[in-house]
């Protein structure tokens, strides 16, 4: 299949690539770039494990073709920590025990970050509904919600 040129900014690095139009952004991130922190849980946009942030919005990268992300700014789980410091959302997931097997965790952290960036003042009930596109099978969500509320509080008070 003929490949198309695309230009992606991923975690601040520019990548000029030739990719097949049928490849998803998830496949490009994992197989072409080698950023395997973004996970594939269903490939149908239902579980949220592949969530990344594209131009400030959380998207399921299995539902986006790589070519359509050209020119956009993409943040993955690998791009969240900076200067040796974990992002407050990452830190909160550790402190509250908001992960177990960890497979859904990158998606949850990216979805939570986008939600908090958009509005850190959501109530627990609002966060519960806003995170309804991400599936976790280990935690039962109680400690994930604790993590998200803690991170939101942290971000609210430091910015």
């Amino acid at each position: 299949m003929a490949k198309l040129p695309v230009s992606l900014t991923i975690n601040g690095d520019e990548h000029d690539l030739l990719i097949e139009p049928r490849k998803t952004l998830l496949a490009v991130l994992r197989d072409t770039i080698g950023l395997t922190g973004t996970k594939e849980g269903c490939s149908t946009g239902d579980c949220g494990a592949c969530t990344v942030i594209v131009d400030g919005k959380a998207v399921t990268s299995c539902m986006v073709l790589g070519v359509t992300a050209s020119g956009k700014e993409i943040t993955t789980i690998e791009g969240l920590a900076g200067d040796g410091e974990l992002h407050p959302v990452q830190q909160a997931f550790i402190e509250t025990g908001g992960y177990q097997c960890g497979f859904c965790t990158p998606g949850f952290i990216m979805a939570s970050k986008a939600l908090i960036d958009e509005n850190p003042d959501r109530t627990e009930e609002e966060f519960r509904h806003a995170l309804g596109g991400n599936i976790c099978r280990c935690t039962g969500y109680t400690k994930i919600l604790e993590a998200v509320l803690k991170a939101a509080e942290e971000i609210r008070t430091t910015t």
Partner: protein, 765 residues
């Protein structure tokens, strides 16, 4: 104030940073140079003869490197279907190609000519003489035909309160088959204690019901995956997402007829398991065969759809249960007949039917269970295998009895619960257990005793018991010249067990938790370790870790005795230093100094070894209370409160223990209210998250967990395995709460809104 400094404390897990930064390496993250992508070719029918397999069109596709069928399995052990397929999605062939899309296209190009056969999906249909047979030649004398004693053959039910069409249909149809012979039987199990007929005769109240529990999928978030690499010498390396690398090693060796030493299994970080990650032929063997054929590494990764069609989920079952009790609340007899849907192969956990006995003094017990073949994939363990199903029946019926005799459900349970020394029906005598403490704890925490319920609201309680397993394990611990402690072992981390092992070793060597690091070896390097399932790891590896640390502790004191010219009896290891107890002024030497000194001694470096295999475990109880509100118009049930207590013996890392309780409870909730793998004559019809709904954060409130600690004599610091118990009572907890809310008992799970609406309608609402 705890006598311990590291165990019993909440600590961040050893894998915390790699899990939140995306650095943890799961199976599909392994990508050796030159790797090919494997794809399984699957049956498009639930039951069919295979007339021919034509791979010619697939072979022409550029990028295809190998196509294999059963002919490519030198040992002859069944990996692929040959002449007959028994379920939709059963593997028939496999392809390896340079790109996943090419592999998928090649798989689609393989032409298989089928002769479609009649299908049977319902266990109660499958046992009938007229049912299609999965195995044998279909004659009366073929395999899987059993004579069954006729005592409780006809399914009966509580017609007043039960509105399940499925059950009444079964009942009507079975009456057409007077000969007492069942077919498609894969296994059977029978247990008896006392005399149930006598027990029922002496009872004031006898309740009899049929419970239908669906097949559900473990739904670990990481689909099955393996990467295999066979080198030119024949050595095979397998990166496997598995709960038991050593079991996978022996499984591959057995299936392919090759020596253990030729296989090295590297367990990758596991994206959830819940019992479903022990299978050998699902992806591991096909990956090895493809790598052997191509000489290149091959990854075989299932899609979520393949997980639903060819995973190994938890078996569904039909349980007929009868309980007799006196008016003053003593349970006298219980009898169960269960049919478990084992799918195309045997292996459903039918022995767990015995768990209908619960934790109660029941003098007369009889349990008969059968595994039944249907046109579905085989089954596997799922978190306390078989217990949630049996306990759902047992605890639902207990509430019915309590209601008939007018007794509070918690008091009724407390009155009948076994204590230390009581005889376990069809078992031995009970050790020191915390059943009553655990139920009382949840009742207190949930506010049971002064509970209030508004309109359409209800409360439900149930308990579930489980005993952790035990298995072999080995641990090495070494102390380095900077005072740091390194642990080496071979068991897979199952959400926090590496952390518990590290805490135990830090405790014994009196060093900060942060100075301990833990490394897992592969099957070539690590000592043998049992699989991480059956709630065994903290119990087994915790004991093993203790032994290793104690061994290191001995060497440390020996070195200090040499170095300080002091008798070992006058030395004490405390705060990472060996102190001379009687010295004035105080005299001590650090672990780092001793480790450095050890390098030039005759005895050598500090290396502790722990090796352990078996000790008696102690039963644990999980007790739960739910408050729900049912919308009679839509049938939707909203959980207002969900409180879960559990006797964990001793919580080594309390936050991780709470996580297990919360997660297990939510899985149980989902089995009760949402999840069901659905099948028709074409096979599974809901192979994705849109049609197979698992809970999201929007479905639930906070789960309140209550830790109860009644120590296990042989557990490390008294710890019991905590992973499995919390799923066991939730199915009944929810059903009991719904019954309390709407006055109608629903015995066929899941309790979806339409069932509630229909039940209310037929009750005149």
């Amino acid at each position: 104030m705890s006598e311990y400094t590291v165990v019993g404390q909440t600590v961040a897990r050893v894998d915390a940073v790699e899990k939140v930064t995306g650095a943890a390496q799961y199976g599909a993250d392994v990508h050796p140079p030159g790797m090919l992508y494997g794809k399984l070719v699957r049956s498009k029918h639930a039951h069919a003869n295979i007339r021919s397999i034509d791979t010619s069109e697939a072979e022409k596709l550029p990028g295809v490197r190998a196509i294999i069928t059963q002919d490519d399995v030198p040992s002859g052990r069944r990996v692929f279907a040959t002449d007959k397929v028994l379920y939709l999605g059963e593997p028939i062939a496999a392809v390896a190609a340079t790109d996943p899309d090419i592999a998928e296209e090649a798989a689609e190009r393989i032409k298989i000519d089928y002769e479609v056969l009649p299908v049977v999906q319902d266990v109660m249909e499958a046992i009938k003489p007229s049912a299609p047979r999965l195995h044998g030649d279909g004659t009366k004398d073929g395999p899987n035909r059993r004579e069954i004693s006729g005592e409780i053959r006809t399914l009966s039910r509580d017609k007043e309160n039960d509105h399940s069409d499925a059950i009444s249909n079964l009942e009507a149809e079975l009456e057409n088959y007077p000969d007492e012979v069942y077919y498609n039987i894969s296994a059977e199990s029978h247990t008896e204690a006392g005399d149930v007929e006598k027990g029922f005769a002496e009872s004031d109240v006898v309740v009899e019901d049929t419970y239908v529990i669906p097949r559900v999928h473990q739904t670990y978030m990481e689909p099955h995956v393996s990467v295999a690499s066979a080198d030119s010498s024949g050595k095979i390396t397998v990166w496997a997402s598995t709960q038991g690398p050593f079991a996978i090693r022996s499984g591959i060796a057995g299936t392919l007829g090759i020596p253990l030493t030729q296989i090295n299994v590297i367990g990758t970080t596991m994206g959830g398991g819940f019992g479903g990650r022990f299978g050998v032929i699902i992806t591991h063997v096909p990956a090895v065969l493809l790598s052997q054929k191509t000489g290149r590494p091959v990854r075989v990764q299932m899609t979520r759809e393949e997980e639903f069609t060819d995973g190994r989920p938890a078996p569904g079952c039909v349980i007929k249960l009868k309980t007799g009790a006196t008016n003053d609340g003593r349970i006298l007899a219980r009898e169960a007949l269960a049919f478990w849907d084992s799918g195309s192969v045997s292996g459903a956990s039918i022995g767990s039917t015995i768990r209908v006995r619960g934790v109660y003094k029941i003098p007369n017990l009889k349990v008969d269970a059968y595994g039944v073949h249907t046109n579905k994939s085989g089954t596997a363990a799922y978190r306390a295998p078989g217990a949630p199903q049996a306990i759902f029946a047992g605890e639902s019926q207990l509430d019915e009895i309590a209601e008939r005799i007018g007794m509070d459900p918690v008091k009724f349970r407390l009155m009948n619960m076994r204590e230390e020394g009581d005889e376990v029906p069809a078992g031995s005598s009970e050790p020191k257990v915390g059943y009553k403490e655990t139920l009382e704890a949840v009742a207190d925490a949930a506010g049971w005793w002064d509970r209030e319920a508004g309109e359409n609201q209800g409360w439900g309680v149930a308990v579930g018991d489980w005993t952790n397993g035990c298995g072999p394990g080995g641990v090495y611990v070494s102390v380095h010249e900077d005072g740091s402690v390194r642990i080496f072992h071979g068991s897979m981390d199952i959400t926090g067990t590496d952390t518990a092992i590290s805490q135990i070793i830090a405790e014994i060597l009196t060093v900060p938790y942060e100075s301990v690091t833990i490394r897992r070896g592969d099957t070539d390097s690590a000592p043998y370790s049992t699989g991480s399932g059956g709630s065994v790891v903290t119990f087994t590896m915790g004991n093993t870790a203790k032994l290793a640390a104690e061994d290191a502790h001995r060497r440390i004191l020996e070195l200090a005795s040499e170095r300080l010219n002091t008798n070992v009896d006058d030395l004490e290891l405390r705060d990472g230093k060996v102190h001379v107890t009687s010295a004035d002024p105080p005299k001590s030497i650090s672990l780092g100094e001793l480790a450095a000194y050890s390098l030039s001694t005759t005895g050598g470096p500090i290396v502790g070894k722990g090796s352990f295999a078996r000790q008696a475990s102690t039963p644990a109880l999980a007790a739960q209370i739910a408050k729900v509100e049912v919308d009679p118009g839509t049938g939707r049930t909203r959980v207002l409160k969900l409180v879960a207590s559990q006797d964990v013996g001793f919580a080594i890392n309390p936050m991780a223990v709470e996580g297990q309780i919360e997660g297990g409870t939510v899985q149980g909730y989902a089995w009760a209210m949402m999840e069901e793998m659905q099948y028709d004559e074409n096979g599974n019809v809901n192979p994705g998250f849109v049609d197979y709904r698992v809970p999201t954060s929007a479905d639930l409130p906070t789960v309140e967990s209550v830790i109860v600690e009644v120590p296990a004599p042989n557990g490390p610091y008294g710890a019991k395995g905590v992973g499995e118990p919390p799923i066991t009572p939730t199915l009944a907890t929810m059903a009991n709460a719904v019954k309390d809310a709407i006055g109608i008992r629903i015995n066929e799970l899941p309790i979806k809104p339409e069932k509630i609406v229909n039940a209310l309608k037929s009750n005149g609402h």
